[in-house]
């Protein structure tokens, strides 16, 4: 069911990039670095790489309206105090609506996305495991879960190479024993363009 929804989403996006507009050569690549705060305050960082797959542009008198679909592999980390250190490996599909001022070349964008991934917890503190009648200290223990969700990012021109980014992220988490619907993330960061053409 989940796979079906993802495929449906991608097909809808592709068909949405209408033939009436100019499809342009895909060139943009960028790296994103964000503060990644679960519930806003559990601190973390996210590093992602944007790989544009499709892009169409529509020119108007004063601005250019651009739509694009990107794939963004992402690595995230956040610290849940007194509980766990969490590593998130995920893949996002971002659909960007970008408004470019023709004169100043400055832009703003809004970018809904879906995210699928794997979340690994490493427990904070000392971890022990019973082995027969003994209790042994063990390292690097934690738990695994799969996550799925999405939300949207907002961003805009900062310098020729940098964009600012403010994002909100929601994902559900399938743990070993339950489905948690509780991950809200606030993001603040930058995107570094790798190709300035």
């Amino acid at each position: 069911m989940r796979k079906f929804l993802v495929v449906l989403f991608l097909v809808s996006l592709a068909s949405g990039l209408s033939a009436q507009e100019a499809t342009i050569k895909v060139i943009d690549r960028n790296i994103g670095i964000n503060y990644f705060g679960e519930l806003g305050f559990r601190p973390g960082v996210e590093l992602d790489y944007g790989w544009e797959l499709l892009k169409v542009q529509k020119e108007k008198q004063k601005r250019i309206f651009e739509r694009s679909l990107s794939m963004r592999p992402s690595i995230g980390y956040y610290h849940y105090a007194k509980y766990s250190n969490n590593y998130l490996f995920s893949l996002k599909f971002n659909y960007q609506f970008k408004f470019i001022n023709k004169q100043s070349k400055k832009h703003l964008f809004v970018e809904p996305f879906v995210r699928l991934g794997y979340l690994r917890y490493f427990f904070s503190g000392d971890v022990f495991e019973t082995v027969g009648n003994e209790i042994e200290k063990v390292n690097f223990r934690g738990t695994n879960s799969f996550i799925f969700g999405g939300a949207f990012d907002l961003g805009g021109y900062l310098t020729k190479r940098f964009d600012w980014l403010l994002g909100f992220d929601y994902f559900a988490e399938r743990t070993e024993d339950k489905l948690l619907l509780n991950r809200f993330v606030a993001k603040l960061g930058t995107r570094i363009k790798l190709n300035l053409k």
């Binding site: 849940y80 509980y83 223990r141 339950k178």
Partner: protein
Amino acid sequence: MKYLVPILFLVLFSQGCSNEELFIEDARRDLWLIHEGAKLPIVVEGNTQSKVFVILLHGGPGGTAQDYNAGAKPFTDVLESDYAMVYYDQRNAGLAVGEWNEEKLTIEQHVEDLDKVIDLLLQEYDNDIQLFLAGHSWGGYLGTAFLLESERAARVQAWININGLVHRNRNLFDVIERVEQIGSEQITEGVNEDQWQSVLETVNLEKDRGIVQYDVDSEDSVFDLIRQAENQIDRDKVLDNIFSSEFSAIYNDNYDPFRILQTDTKSRDRTLRSQMYLFDLIIEEAVENITLPTLNIYGYYDVNTPLQQGEYLFNEIGTLDEDKKIVVLGKSGHSSMRNEPVELANEMIEWIEKYKR
């Protein structure tokens, strides 16, 4: 070579510190115990220097120890200044993680888990620490079940039963009786007479069912009665609510309301509840084996696990009369740690001081 001496000094110094830091006045240590598919978070917080460790068993089944440690600081802070408090989340409860295995979701497994937590404490701290066991609500049932075996009971100095469930079936009759008593008193005092009259009508309906042995299907109506009575007690404004803010619990501690809510909902299934009705028979047979000093603390307005449960435990255990006691907190409901946090903590301290070596 010039760096070798300072490095060695630092290594030796840090080793020395870590040992000493085990026993300090305001310790906080996070531990995890992985046992039989469950991953249990354990927090040791407070005065470890006292070498008196109080294990507080949370309610539920499916609650969390963080309700006390992070959510009821006016209560736990008083205890933590004198003793090391031990909070752990039981399997498939609160912040615990691990597999969901119905076969392991048993009272016996919960008892074994507690035993392993004690093993870990004795291993990580000195063998000369003194352990006291306290349990709230379902934690009262778990604690009582743990103490039925004398070998296990010998590991702790004393038992503190806080608004504890002791006998599942009997408790439902105690609830009906207690609601009737409180309702009649409130009517006599002229407090919300019409509403209490309506509660007493529900009491009579429940009595008319003529049930002598409840089960997980038939008990629901009694829980409806409990909710009705608790809501009425809230409206009567006889109870104070003194607790730390949830915001603070989330920001300053590891309280995770979303995770706890999900776990709580799932843990309220029939598995453990149905087992309790069978386990009642074991309680009836073996409760007299408990000879440990036992303090029962109940809220006067507790209609969830009323003070009759404490009276049952008080009367049935084999403890000498001078080593058992019932305390009724006059302005408390089921959550005495929120209604009268300091009074509850002081009663516990008095009991621990009496029985610590």
